[in-house]
């Protein structure tokens, strides 16, 4: 056993407080340490070369590097020692910067502590054994959950690399929330003009299998080797036969709420959500259909020229294998009514959400692009926009910002001026967040060109008086309490995680936050990964964001996925649990506690049943190691003896 110890000075970051040479000298007094030295910048090229040279010169087989946090450079130095011929997992990093030199000012104390930490590293590295990464085969097909702009982008990017994709969408059409928007900020492109071609591309891409009206019901397996059950819900329409001719929709006698249009206008029990739907097929909602409510009807079946109506249709379940999963389940708008009785709590028809307003603005929407008061159909003159409804409000448990409200209200004010030139928009806001490219100019345009009056304050109350909606607010800039007599009030409701996001996360075994948004593995450095290998996030399922960010994240996730599944096999971390089969007594405590179902029973040739670790599933948490009474299950890299030796060394 020949250990080398390298003490990094990190310029003065460490050396100013820790006498690095003294630490290096102390290392030489330790058993098995054949070499030690202090290096000015160990992570630099010359620094790494020094380490490699010393390894070779002194024939070292283990290395301790006392420097910054292992969270910073552990990978760097593993690579360094590997280049020098040492097993990368026989390198132990000791943190004498963040945990020592930077938090102490007494040189003697800091040096003494650094020596202790270094000695602990030596003690631990002595217990280390070479570890080797292993490989598992990778299924190349990819599952994308959610057919909004994020899912579409990810699916197309992945398919472009020649990788087969299955895209699962819960609704009858692709498009998600973006398909409901009129125009998009800050360019005022028509949303459907840019989105529908992408939707059609999905439809025609040979490598994409699109399954609408479907949900992912169960996921098993692990990175490279997932298996998913996908439930396709019965819609009473044979998608293969339906031509999207709309005859059934026209003839259907059952009215139904128009969810696509956010409740503005009405729809039918059998419907096609929008003319640009992909796939362009009708679907029937039994809960609104006269045939199912009253027991008699059948008009759609009679009128359908394609014979596509099938009342007997049942849910079907597909099971398929996937190498990676992209979750792009999007968002829903906050249901503001119970949270804001002071804004009328939904009792006033002329208080609407921005999405409803969006549908009104849209030429293909239920009002054909005309802005109308829902109460009487009149064209409003004074329109009040209210920001942050359900955002930045701790009192209702929603402290976060929706990221897009400021900008889409600016957009709606500009569009309002275009639709009704003599209108006046009032925008209540708290802080203007215009951080994207060209956003600031766009916001200024709403003020300057569209004449919107920006009032800095939250609205306290809306009440009806003499046919108007009185909006009580404050303009904190002038310090005024004020009221606006509005014809129409538009609420910028916040984002909320999509319905069922938490349940899906549980099925996928990925973490989610207190608001049910899915959690990324690291907010900065692993923003599209989840903590479960092989599962990636795209778009607003991870948190509120605008279209450019959504698309960027979707492409990033796609890039990660392509990198993963284009390999035939992949390496897994060796720092996972292992079982000493000789000694396993088969009590299965490890199986009971494993959060990843990564431990199974296996029968040995002698008939004994023992636990085995599925290395590709194991994430290396070590819960099993503690649960195993004889410590037969041990976590590589953190074995009992490694931890004990650290304890013993520091207290020696």
């Amino acid at each position: 056993m020949r250990i080398g110890v390298f003490i990094c000075e990190c310029g003065t970051n460490i050396a100013a407080t820790v006498m690095t040479q003294k630490v290096a000298d102390a290392a030489l007094a330790l058993r098995d340490v054949y070499h030690s030295e202090s290096i000015q910048y160990t992570c630099s090229d010359p620094g790494q070369r020094t380490v490699m040279a010393a390894v070779q010169k002194h024939n070292l087989d283990r290395v301790v590097i006392a420097a910054c946090s292992p969270r910073m450079h552990e990978t760097t130095f593993r690579r360094t020692v590997a280049k020098a011929g040492v097993n990368p997992f026989m390198m132990e990093m000791v943190n004498i910067r963040e945990h020592c030199s930077w938090i102490h000012d007494d040189t003697d104390e800091a040096t003494e502590k650094a020596i202790d930490l270094m000695a602990m590293g030596v003690a631990k590295v002595r217990e280390e054994v070479p570890l080797f990464t292993s490989k598992v085969p990778v299924t190349s097909e990819v599952l994308v959950i959610g057919g909004g702009v994020a899912g579409i982008q990810a699916a197309l990017d992945i398919a472009d690399a020649g990788i087969p994709v299955t895209l699962v969408e819960r609704e009858p059409t692709l498009g998600g929330n973006m398909a409901r928007l009129d125009k998009t900020f800050p360019t005022l492109d028509c949303s459907s003009c840019i989105l529908t071609p992408r939707m059609v591309e999905v439809k025609h891409n040979q490598d994409i299998r699109l399954i609408v009206n479907a949900e992912v019901e169960a996921v098993r397996g692990y990175i490279g080797n997932f298996e998913a059950d996908i439930r396709k819900k019965a819609t009473c329409v044979d998608e293969e036969k339906c031509t999207g001719c709309y005859i059934c929709v026209e003839k259907c006698p059952s009215k139904a709420p128009d969810e696509f249009n956010a409740g503005v206008g009405e729809s039918k029990a059998i419907s096609i959500p929008l003319p640009q739907a992909v796939p362009l097929v009708a679907s029937l909602r039994k809960e609104h259909c006269r045939r199912y409510i009253k027991g008699k009807c059948g008009v759609c079946e009679k009128v359908c020229p394609a014979d596509a109506i099938d009342y007997e249709q049942e849910d079907r379940i597909f099971t398929d294998k996937f190498g990676a999963i992209v979750v792009a389940t999007g968002y829903e708008l906050f249901d503001w009514k119970t949270a804001y009785p002071n804004l009328g709590g939904g009792h006033y028809p002329d208080v609407i959400t921005a999405m409803q307003y969006e549908r009104m603005l849209s030429a293909s929407g239920p009002t054909e692009g005309h802005i109308r008061r829902p109460s009487d159909g009149a064209e409003p003159r004074n329109i009040v926009f209210i920001s942050c409804v359900g955002s930045r409000d701790e009192s209702i448990g929603r402290p976060f910002c929706c990221n897009v409200g400021c900008m889409y209200l600016a957009k709606q004010a500009i569009l309002t001026k275009e639709h009704i030139p003599d209108s006046q928009s009032y925008i209540f806001y708290m802080d203007m967040r215009a951080v994207g490219k060209d956003y600031e100019q766009f916001y200024r345009r709403a003020q300057r060109d569209a004449g919107a009056i920006y009032l800095r304050g939250r609205v306290g109350k809306i009440y009806p008086l003499d046919g108007k909606l009185m909006v009580m607010g404050a303009d904190t800039l002038s310090g005024q309490q004020l009221e606006v007599a509005a014809d129409l009030v538009v609420l910028a409701t916040g984002f909320t995680a999509s319905d069922g996001a938490a349940e899906l996360a549980q099925r996928l075994n990925i973490p989610y936050d207190q608001f049910d948004f899915l959690s990324e593995s690291h907010p900065k450095l692993r923003p599209v990964e989840t903590t479960t290998g092989g599962i990636f996030l795209a778009g607003t399922c991870q948190g509120p964001k605008d279209i450019p960010d959504t698309v960027a994240q979707a492409s990033a996730a796609a890039a990660k996925v392509i990198g993963l599944v284009s390999r035939d096999e992949m390496e897994t971390s060796p720092m996972v649990a292992e079982v000493n089969h000789m000694r396993c007594i088969g009590c299965w405590k490890c199986i009971e506690v494993c959060p990843y179902k990564a431990i199974e029973k296996q029968k040995l040739r002698d008939g004994r049943q023992v636990a085995i670790i599925i290395e590709s599933l194991c994430q290396g948490c070590g819960i099993c190691n503690v649960a195993c009474p004889p410590s037969v299950v041990s976590l590589r890299g953190y074995t009992d003896n490694q931890l004990i030796s650290e304890v013993v060394e520091v207290l020696r």
């Binding site: 009590c587 009474p629 004889p630 009992d640």
Partner: protein
């Protein structure tokens, strides 16, 4: 006890062997035995000297079809062993016996000499012709008896005790005799107390070997180099560490049968530790090992909503 003998014989038709007791002719008290044949079963007895917890043999006989004669307290161990996959309910025939309470034979012997004649009349006790207060010689576990009749059994023999034995003897839920003393000690005094106790330990591992729940046995980490939790020396320091290991590993699993303390040749109050831990477990999780076959051992699970310790800030 013809009834017991018949029952064992009947059970033997279905199983390989039955764990029970026979009378040791030299001392007249019961000793554990295995009955393989009907002939052997003739010797089966059950009386108030059947102190041993026979469940200790179940893990050793894992995978075989067995019968076991079990008192209420022993049945708790059986339950816990089934929960922990050390015994299969289907492969086990439990012959429940109604238990009035059990004598601590070793205590009697240590005081009156090995083999002293024990004449237990149920309400009183005569030892070598001298009358002794029966209360004084009850097994410790009877004082906190949770179940005089077994909770699970396939066949039942004898009279149902109709309630916890402790109740019958009037000593229900009695804490360990030393717990009040320990309560009064300052932390440093407690440390000294335990060190004193463990200085007697000879590391014979009887505590472990008689414990039905210590089924790792031969690979127990008390003695291993990998992992090396405890040194090999026989001294108070290491003995306390190995007992730390035992207590820690029995968290939520100890049914309080008291075998460890009974077996300890040097009289270390091991059940004082176990009792305290069992109490803490019950307080924290409302769990008592051996209560139910459907239970989930508390250290093998968690509750997001209820486990709020350490969250006070």
């Amino acid at each position: 006890m013809a009834d017991l003998v018949t029952t064992i014989k009947q059970t033997l038709k279905d199983v390989e062997l039955v764990l029970g007791w026979v009378r040791d002719p030299a001392t007249g008290v019961a000793a554990p035995a295995r009955f393989h044949t009907e002939e052997e079963a003739e010797a089966a007895v059950f009386d108030s000297t059947c102190v041993h917890n026979l469940a200790v043999h179940l893990p050793r006989l894992k995978g075989r079809r067995l019968g076991i004669v079990a008192k209420g307290c022993d049945a708790r161990s059986v339950v816990e062993l089934i929960i922990e996959h050390e015994a299969e309910r289907e492969d086990l025939k439990v012959i429940g016996v109604g238990c009035g309470s059990i004598l601590d034979v070793k205590k009697i012997w240590r005081r009156f000499g090995y083999g002293v004649e024990i004449d237990d009349r149920g309400d009183s006790l005569e030892l070598g012709g001298e009358r002794g207060p029966r209360e004084d010689f009850l097994a410790r576990k009877c004082h906190g008896c949770l179940e005089a009749d077994p909770d699970i059994y396939d066949l039942f023999v004898g009279e149902s005790a109709g309630g916890p034995a402790g109740e019958i003897s009037g000593g229900r839920e009695e804490p360990h005799p030393l717990s009040a003393m320990l309560e009064d000690l300052a932390p440093a005094e407690r440390r000294a107390f335990w060190r004193e106790q463990f200085s007697r330990c000879i590391r014979c591992y009887a505590c472990r070997e008689v414990c039905p729940m210590c089924f790792c046995r031969d690979i127990c980490i008390m003695q291993t180099q990998v992992p090396h939790w405890a040194g090999g020396e026989v001294n108070a320091r290491e003995s306390e560490m190995i007992q730390h290991i035992r207590v820690s590993h029995l968290a939520g699993r100890c049914t309080g049968c008291g075998e460890c303390e009974r077996a300890c040749p040097v009289g270390i109050p091991l059940m004082l530790l176990m009792d305290e831990q069992n109490r803490a477990i019950e307080d924290m999780f409302g769990y008592r090992a051996g209560d139910s076959l459907r239970a989930r051992p508390p250290m093998q699970t968690f509750s997001i909503e209820k486990d709020l310790w350490g969250d006070e800030e």
